[in-house]
């Protein structure tokens, strides 16, 4: 049977971009400006999709005012160590490239029509408190409408946008990625996209843990990420295709403010460079703790722990209000409905758990954002080593700028029919299952496994039991997933990604037999010096999981030279 007969639609393109968020949109614009045929696949609609859908209040970090790129790399590594312990957790050359491209990316964004300046025509540089520096190196932006602006730039170009479409899996041929299959989640249409280059831009992963609010059947995560973004679609598809994931044992750890809801009350102060006060319930002040310190405070009866902003002056609160407008308009409604005053409120800091993978994990990439498979790139939060909107834009622009070199020398993509057929079966099978399992039921079961058997305080027995339970969930329930309509096909495919990544996650945790930073193994309470600056890399090879432990690359001499 030919591909045309298997698929409802076959698209041939130079560049396939998966995900139309804050990384995917600038990539599409840049690649289209190089004269390439670009196809953008988006689960929702680029105007309001992804982590930046509700808006953003700050952008980027720039080497300026005497702060060198090398100093910024040191600060980035110090921040990583604050969370993850001793050693280094990502390729510093990538970080160098990010800072080196920061001003170029700023110009590019402005030329794409993105508002970077305030009404008076000037940039507003704000101090960046998060890394301990007070230098004015970060842009404060009014970006409530950054996604509509980015989407407009894409639509002004000749980019083929497939909305409400979810990628099933990547297509491979002799170790190269040659496109992907996708399904329209409103019509059920099955689509084959042949592409010379494929760029994954789907964001982070978090949905193997419970949401922050006690509604376990619901989607609700920290304030940054839309649930459609954190299902780990890009990581799942890359891993199944044979690409390498890095640092899946390193989950970020941060507070979850109980009253935070979708918003950043109590977190914005970090971005404005002024610290809120952390208090125990008895009113005793304490410093910003990591996972171990938090547990210690709680064990000694100091919980609940609070953060408050009430000591700050009025003009500061006014600045905060503008930040809410820029990043989370809905926060005003939250405070109003709940009848609390953010100025005087005590925001409870919730017990710790590893709820996301935001500090180091993702698709392993080289300095050109190429993944370990030929023809595959990863930009934005998808990539290992760095996660932020500034990074998303820069990596997107770098790939958009250079992908034509690869496309021009790549062969015509040849797609394997058997592979397309099996992916079609995977995608559409739940439509014909009756009396099966609803995707949310299985998702809750996976989340329960991670909550119970992985969590913050890990040990070999629990991890192995978790792995066993995941295995039986996979065997018993994955084939029984049912979808009443094409909308639920999206949820079924998400659950498949969540399940695959939960397994990769547990395997990585099992292999790290030590305690370091927020990776706490009760059975190995000490740091293993032989794992200093050694990262975990995982991939699928001939259907079997392979785990590699390799050192973090060193900063190249030319990048390490102060002032370069």
């Amino acid at each position: 049977m030919s591909i045309e007969k298997i698929a409802d639609k076959v698209i041939e393109t130079d560049v396939l971009i998966i995900g139309g968020g804050i990384a995917g949109c600038p990539t599409a614009v840049k690649a289209a400006d190089h004269g390439l045929k670009v196809t953008l696949v988006e689960k929702a609609k680029p105007e309001r999709s992804g982590s930046a859908g509700q808006g953003i209040d700050h952008y980027g970090i720039f080497p300026r005012e005497g702060v060198t790129k090398q100093e910024l790399i040191r600060r980035w590594e110090a921040y990583q160590s604050l969370l993850n312990g001793e050693g280094r957790f990502g390729d510093p050359n990538l970080v160098y490239k990010y800072y080196d491209s920061a001003f170029w990316a700023l110009e590019e964004l402005e030329s794409q029509g993105i508002t970077m300046r305030w009404d008076d025509g000037e940039y507003y540089w704000m101090p960046h408190g998060r890394y301990g520096g007070a230098d004015r190196i970060m842009l404060r932006v009014h970006w409530q409408n950054v996604k509509p602006e980015m989407a407009k730039a894409v639509r002004e170009r000749d980019v083929d946008i497939l909305e409400r479409t979810m990628v099933v899996d990547l297509l491979t041929n002799n170790g190269s990625v040659v496109g992907a299959t996708a399904v329209n989640t409103r019509t059920g249409e099955f689509i084959v996209i042949k592409a010379k280059a494929t760029i994954v831009a789907t964001g982070l992963f978090a949905r193997c843990y419970n949401p922050e609010t006690p509604l376990f059947w619901k989607y609700k995560f920290r304030y940054h990420w839309c649930p459609a973004t954190v299902s780990g679609d890009g990581w799942g598809m890359a891993y199944r295709a044979g690409a390498e994931l890095a640092c899946m044992d390193i989950t970020g750890w941060h507070f979850r403010a109980r009253d935070d809801l979708t918003i950043s009350y109590g977190n914005f102060n970090l971005n404005e460079g002024i610290a809120g006060k952390f208090l125990t319930w008895k009113g005793k002040e304490f410093g910003f703790p990591n996972a171990g310190r938090y547990a210690e405070l709680e064990e000694k009866g100091n919980a609940p722990l609070y953060q408050t902003l009430q000591h700050l002056p009025d003009d500061y609160h006014k600045r905060m209000e503008v930040a809410y407008v820029d990043e989370r308009l809905v926060s005003f409604k939250v405070a109003e409905d709940r009848r609390f005053n953010p100025k005087t409120h005590y925001f409870e800091l919730m017990p710790n758990k590893p709820h996301n993978f935001m500090t180091a994990a993702g698709i392993s990439i080289d300095e050109d954002c190429k993944a370990s498979l030929k023809g595959l790139y990863s930009v934005g939060d998808c990539s290992a080593g760095w996660h932020s909107c500034g990074h998303a834009v820069v990596t997107g622009l770098i790939v958009g700028e250079n992908v034509d070199t690869y496309v021009n020398m790549a062969d015509e993509p040849v797609v394997d029919e058997a592979q397309v057929e099996s992916q079609k079966l995977t995608a559409l099978a739940p439509l014909s299952v009756k009396d099966g399992t609803e995707p949310m039921e299985l998702e809750c079961a996976i989340r329960y496994v991670c909550e119970r058997y992985v969590g913050q305080f890990k040990s070999e027995g629990k991890l192995r039991e978790g792995l066993r339970r995941l295995g039986s969930l996979r065997r018993e329930f994955l084939p029984k997933l049912m979808a009443k309509n094409p909308h639920y096909l999206m949820r079924c495919l998400e659950v498949r990604n969540i399940m695959d990544l939960a397994e990769v996650y547990i395997n990585a945790c099992l292999e790290r037999k030590e305690t370091r930073g927020n990776h706490i193994r009760l059975d190995y309470p000490d740091r293993d010096p032989s794992r200093d600056s050694m990262l975990t890399y995982q991939r699928m090879e001939k259907g079997k999981p392979v785990l590699d432990i390799r050192p973090v690359p060193e900063l190249k001499p030319e990048n390490a030279k102060e002032g370069n």
Partner: protein, 66 residues
């Protein structure tokens, strides 16, 4: 119900149906109006609420948020 449509105010412009990041809305062909079809998936991001040109959408937060 998380997102609630006030049909007295709704003009059927399709904005909410178009932009919801989770695809919580479907289109009711009979009434030519949007419908909250997958309310259990709503995460209260407020995008429909902020984009609705007629302020016809209200967001209700669940009890456990309090």
């Amino acid at each position: 119900m998380p997102a609630k449509i006030d049909y007295k105010k709704c003009i059927g412009c399709q904005t909410c149906y178009d932009i919801c990041p989770i695809d919580v809305f479907t289109w009711d062909e009979e009434t030519d109006m949007p419908k909250v079809a997958y309310e259990e998936e709503c995460w209260h991001c407020g995008i429909c609420w902020m984009e609705c040109p007629k302020r016809a959408i209200d967001i209700t937060f669940p009890a456990s948020f309090w």
